[in-house]
Amino acid sequence: MKKPTSPQTDSSESVSILSEIKTFFTSVKTTIFLLFAIAVGSILGTIIPQGEALDRIAISGNPFLYRLALILDLNNIFRSWWFTTLLAVLTLNLLGCLFRRIPMILEEWNGKNQKSSFKLRYISSRGISELKDSLAFIGKSVMRVVPRVTETSDRTNFSWDKHKIYLLGFPLIHIGIIVILLGSLVGAFWGHKGHALIKEGDGTDKFSLISTGATRTLPFKIMVDDFTLTNYPTGEPKEFRSNVRLLRDGKEVAAGSILVNHPLTFEGISLFQSDYRVLGVKNIRLSFKTKDGGNSENSFDPNLEIDIPASNSKIKTRSLDPGSMAKGSGIQISVPGTTDQPSLFSIYQKDAQPLNVDGVEIRFLGFTPLYATGLQIGYDPGVYIVWLGCSMLVLGFTLTLFTNLRRLSIELTASEKGTQVIASGRSRKLRREFREAVKLKLAENVDLSRQN
């Protein structure tokens, strides 16, 4: 970049500082520096364990390092003052570059500033009016669009434009990035992200913010009817599903299942499946086979006494054993006997022999755990701005890659020696091929002699 000359007087010195600042914010050199600086900052953020760096340095007992880590916020690099500043300066630099470039783009759009990558000069003994039609035809056969014609008494100019929309690519890409950064800023200020752990059958309208842990209240209550966990036969998790209802003033306003990759959104607030916890046992399943051959299977609340069918005995669940692959899971049950002391039995899913109480064969079939589902709660008004920015970015790249800005201008000027023909043009892609195509067409169709 041009360095402003350093003048002697004070007043112009301040001007020079201003122009230095201006240069800084409009220079691509700055952009390149910032891109690499942000890259280095990001790398640091992945190498230094975020959230625990301070503790580790504190243990190492180096006061200088600790202070440095504190000042540079090494614990939280991506939200640190210097990283944020880098992003902010990048945004300003992008704006600066845009302001510098947009007038040039506009000029080019309006055809005022026509850069050309080649210029072919010819001379012909024929007059303008004779040449005009065939030259217009040539231009059209190369460009396949209608030309713009400007005519004066001794000069005729044809110009063809193609894919002028290419010029929008650059501003779209760069504005897109600014829009994305702004969208993230909106999210940081007005959005929030929280988490709630809700037991099956329970409901809540409270959640805790992930950033600070502070409790917030939702405009509705989340009722979790149940949570199910399904596995593939191979044992890998297949599905985590929370069936919820959203209540406002006791009235149901929405309902549905929340799965990973399948959030539930209500009034801009999205609920995501995040994690789960096993809190206890929801029910146990037992089968009974009585002496007369009667078979029954039922689910029972593990906290209540269970009547054994066709018998006067009751059993009570004492504890649950997750068991092993060989035995399956199991329960310990007590059967109140004739003595004061109840007798205890352990029965497992895969026991060879059933437990016999009063002639009734009891088998343990399994249990359903009582879960609490962990829901992530997100509200981010900036996300639409981010998607807008992303769309601009994608559109900008599409224009840049898949359109081919081409310009051709053929100018005929009457001179003493005859008619001077100047063909000039530019093509973003296949530059040489374009030039050769124009040259060939001219040679094929019009009798012209080349001039330098």
């Binding site: 691509v28 890998e236 990973v260 995040s274």
Partner: protein, 272 residues
């Protein structure tokens, strides 16, 4: 024959291709005829590669856990080498640059050979991966990576030829190498951008956060920033030759770290 078996033969096929090509490269005086044969042979290998990916897709459906074969390290390695192979075929054709294959096909071979170190079995999709974004995200990212890989190959050749003029006299002109270093990134960069955007959209859908500075995300951003730096340095500062070749190599190191290295960093996203 299963797709896993085909991949083993395919790895061997790439190896045979490399050996035959090297022999011709050293021995033959005029390689214009043999080059055509080698190009076609590479296209055939790539077609088999495509077939094997398609077969694996079908196999997952036959097993009742149908999903696109892009869900674990084995599948991603196979797909990565497929993309690099495709990029080599295109660049070879477009720039009549057969020597990209000299360094490029060995890379394809190494990636394919490395699949023997990981579990090749088709596994069912874990909940976090059960999304339509999977295909769009992986496709764009890896095609982008393939562009960067070709750029890396050309950059490496450029630095090598600079190092010893004599040994690499058969290499093409510096200008052409420089053009390939740049053009491949010009294609790879928008694809990576699209890959990051689809990844962000997916993360927003699955976890409610389009960006959470998780190591993989962050390193994809680092890669993006390096290549953005490359493009600006080249387009506006007039950098070319050795300097941009170095940037291309740094960029590809970032790609590799994004792909493999992040597994060794603290605080990785666990898929549930």
């Amino acid at each position: 024959m299963t797709s896993i078996e085909i991949n083993t033969y395919l790895t061997f096929g790439y190896f045979v291709w490399i050996v035959a090509y090297l022999v011709t490269f050293v021995a033959a005086k005029d390689r214009s005829q043999s080059n055509k044969v080698f190009w076609i042979a590479l296209v055939i290998l790539w077609s088999v590669h495509t077939g094997s990916i398609g077969l694996r897709w079908a196999e997952s459906y036959w097993q009742g856990i149908g999903h696109a074969p892009l869900s674990n390290l084995y599948e991603s390695l196979v797909f990565f080498s497929w993309s690099v192979s495709l990029a080599l075929i295109i660049v070879w054709r477009r720039f009549s640059a057969d020597w990209v294959a000299l360094l490029g096909v060995p890379i394809v071979f190494i990636i394919m050979a490395s699949t023997s170190l990981v579990d090749p079995n088709i596994r069912p999709l874990i909940p976090a991966l059960q999304s339509n974004w999977l295909v769009a995200h992986v496709f764009t990212c890896f095609l982008g990576y393939a562009g960067f890989a070709v750029s890396f190959v050309a950059a490496l050749l450029m630095l090598l030829s600079k190092g010893s003029q004599k040994a690499f006299s058969m290499l093409p002109k510096k200008e052409l190498l420089d053009e390939i270093v740049y053009r491949s990134i010009l294609i790879g960069f928008p694809l990576l951008t699209l890959g990051i955007i689809t990844g962000a959209a997916w993360a927003e859908h699955a976890w409610g956060t389009y960006w959470s500075w998780d190591p993989k995300e962050t390193w994809s951003l680092v890669t993006w920033l390096v290549y953005a730096g490359f493009l600006h340095a080249r387009l506006t500062r007039g950098w070319s030759g050795t300097r941009t070749a170095f940037l291309s190599i740094i960029g590809f190191c970032a790609v590799l770290f994004t792909y493999f290295g992040v597994n060794y960093l603290p605080g990785l996203h666990s898929y549930f």
